[in-house]
Symmetry: C4
Subunit: 248 residues, 4 copies
């Protein structure tokens, strides 16, 4: 086994100028957005990436059939615009593995003609956020105005921030290859899977890639999550009152 | 030293169409079954696997003689049916090592003509189980009916399950090689070495490989373990009554 | 990606006989000194070192632009004396990585004609130090008198000391290459970033490399830190008195 | 840098049929014995082993001079009997490193004509031992009578023992090369550096290698340690009496 194995399911007409990365991370914000887009655009899986740098395990599906842990490449097309997606359930197991996988992701990107990567993620702030901003970073200064015009904020710049894992390395290692990199991070508490933050991020990304999709299912998930949170808060307040009544 | 060293003790007439993996895991269920079968079928050790990915230590036997930590291949034959076993005291030391070792196990399997792997293990449920089921997974959908006919259950499917380590990777990596993989997991608490769960698993496996063996010694171990558990529970109940009498 | 990538920004006239290492460490003493010297001498960045052995992340700068985690080589020149600096925000991720990076640092040093390395760091003593000494070690005995003449102390010798990370390995691995190595360690509590200790270290280093620079900004930072510490101590004493008055 | 670097200080007339390993371990028993023998026999350092698998640091000696962390080969000769020693301050950093280093140690042994390895260590029992036994293991059954005749005990056999690290692997990996391996483990509490246990081990080893040395300095260290322990026990008993008198 090679340390990273890339398998393409077909090889004709799979080029695209743009790659969107939505691997798991804070609040699963990036993953929610990428999975939503693939679903709405009826994306086609064109490749699989397995690696010794992923956890040593298989996933058992609903039929009882096992699947080796891997990441996947999807391709979507709408109104003549093609977009590739890098999605999956895991990031690397080790620090070194992150670098090795990121270089392979970029190899794939270059082979498929990608000139720009969007790395999606969450930006943990430690508290619930009413109106999540979409915080941003770019790997080339000239990209900033375009991101701001689409609604991305750079208010995080100057706070000594780090972007860890695949999102960070796609920008960092992509720069040397001349691949434009834009990282979009939905503000999120960091405590929950956050479809509301994903919804905000999707709006900005849609403007940037020029592809609109229906938000309904994502917004429905966000509303459900809001209701769950409201119930938890109510229960906590009720408990608070009880405790007070004991004291009184 | 190669990172994995495979040494065959003889090389003639050692082929077999089936490999049973029974390395250590939850409740040592898989290991109990494999060791029991090898003992009952008077299996012959035909190979040894040592590796830099095992713990850096030797085992001291009853004669005071050291043995390098390794895994072993046994071969059993009954009524013209030949079966290979992969057994030992350790799995890999690291995530990467799991992948590397699993590929070597599959190399051996292919060299010896293996077309199907049975990966045995335990399925931890966190409480004692009166009638342990044998939960299952397969790496190709067409294998499921055969497993169900033999008494394997797929009730675990759909619970987002993972199979970690050698068992999982033999199925996951075997698929790409065209090797059929069936994982049988005896339901077990996860707190004890569980011969009762192993006994259930053995029944299912016997039907699948078409080889029956005497269960007596395994059932005797299961009864001994039941008695130990009963005594512990009695002691705990006694302590419970005492505590109550203190209160009263 | 190579495991270590060295990129030179220009390649003419970049030799120098001396390399000063100021990577992060105890009290950031070495880093403070190196960064101060580069700033005062208006050093020029001539090279960048990125590696799979650094943390897998990018840094976001004040413009929102990402930069791959790396170390940097600067070159300074004053009165005909040229000095190279190895600086950055990270050391290696792993024990093995420390060795691999240190060998690459020494390869660069040899390529640029370096015959002596100064490794700067802190020497943690666990309490605040009024007049921090500059404790020292050398990789060849004949270097000691020169260091002592410049104000470096060897009072730490004989206490079974270890020097860990890049500083230690530049001396240890440099010896076999015939590169002289002098390690200067500013005494420091180990609890704070310590510009006062850095100021002491700078004085000794300046004498050794024969380059004087203005100390004002470093001393200003030291004074600020002294005031912060004084306030903390005052607050603690006030709390102490309060606690006593409760008792009384 | 190679992952393991072996440097010989001379290469003529350095063969010997026996290697004694005394690297650090439980109670530093093996190290005490090996260092004592080298001192008494006025051994000569003939080789140094450095490696990326050792901790990334240098040791500062009494003169303030740094030394790369390494292991060392000494050679001793008495009455025509030559013995090599493998000593040092560290074992490997990682599980894989243990294997890689052990194979290099055996390569050196074979290059120098070694046909038998004595691996020295401690056997931790968790309490102070009045008359420490020398527990033993061998990598070939025929070696046992010789060890027993010299006073080595095999009472530990049959307790599912493991020998971890260099000592274990020299026996385990040596077997495949046809190198006889005898592991001698001085019984020790595991809480202290134990010269008394080392003294017992030295007696057995001396009979096996046919070289007697003066035990005085080791016995003196053992007596000093006994006195320290006696004082600690006295102090503890005194505290115990005080506590009782408080209660009474």
């Amino acid at each position: 086994m090679e340390h990273v194995t890339v398998t393409f399911l077909r090889d004709d007409n799979i080029d695209a100028p743009v790659l969107v990365e939505g691997l798991p991370g804070i609040g699963h914000v990036g993953k929610l957005v990428a999975d939503h887009l693939i679903h709405e655009l009826e994306g086609e899986k064109i490749g699989e990436i397995s690696s010794i740098h992923f956890p040593p395990q298989v996933i058992v599906d609903e039929e009882g059939v096992t699947h080796l842990v891997n990441n996947e490449i999807y391709r979507c097309e709408k109104d003549g615009r093609a977009v590739l997606f890098l999605v999956g359930d895991f990031q690397s197991n080790s620090a070194e593995g992150h670098y090795i996988l990121a270089e392979h992701y970029l190899d794939i990107a270059q082979d498929l003609g990608v000139r720009r990567v969007y790395a999606l993620g969450g930006y943990g702030v430690g508290h619930l956020v009413e109106n999540p901003r979409v915080l941003s970073a770019v790997n080339m200064g000239h990209l900033r105005p375009e991101v701001e015009a689409a609604g991305g904020s750079f208010e995080n710049a100057g706070s000594d921030g780090m972007i860890v894992g695949a999102s960070g390395l796609l920008l960092g290692l992509g720069e040397a290859r001349g691949i434009e990199g834009i990282c979009l991070m939905g503000e999120t508490s960091g405590y929950i899977v956050d479809p509301k933050s994903a919804d905000s991020l999707l709006a900005v990304l849609s403007r940037l890639i020029g592809i609109e999709v229906d938000h309904t299912s994502l917004q429905q998930r966000a509303e459900n999550m809001e209701q769950i949170i409201a119930k938890i808060q109510e229960a906590e307040e009720a408990r608070g009152r009880e405790e007070l009544s004991y004291i009184g």
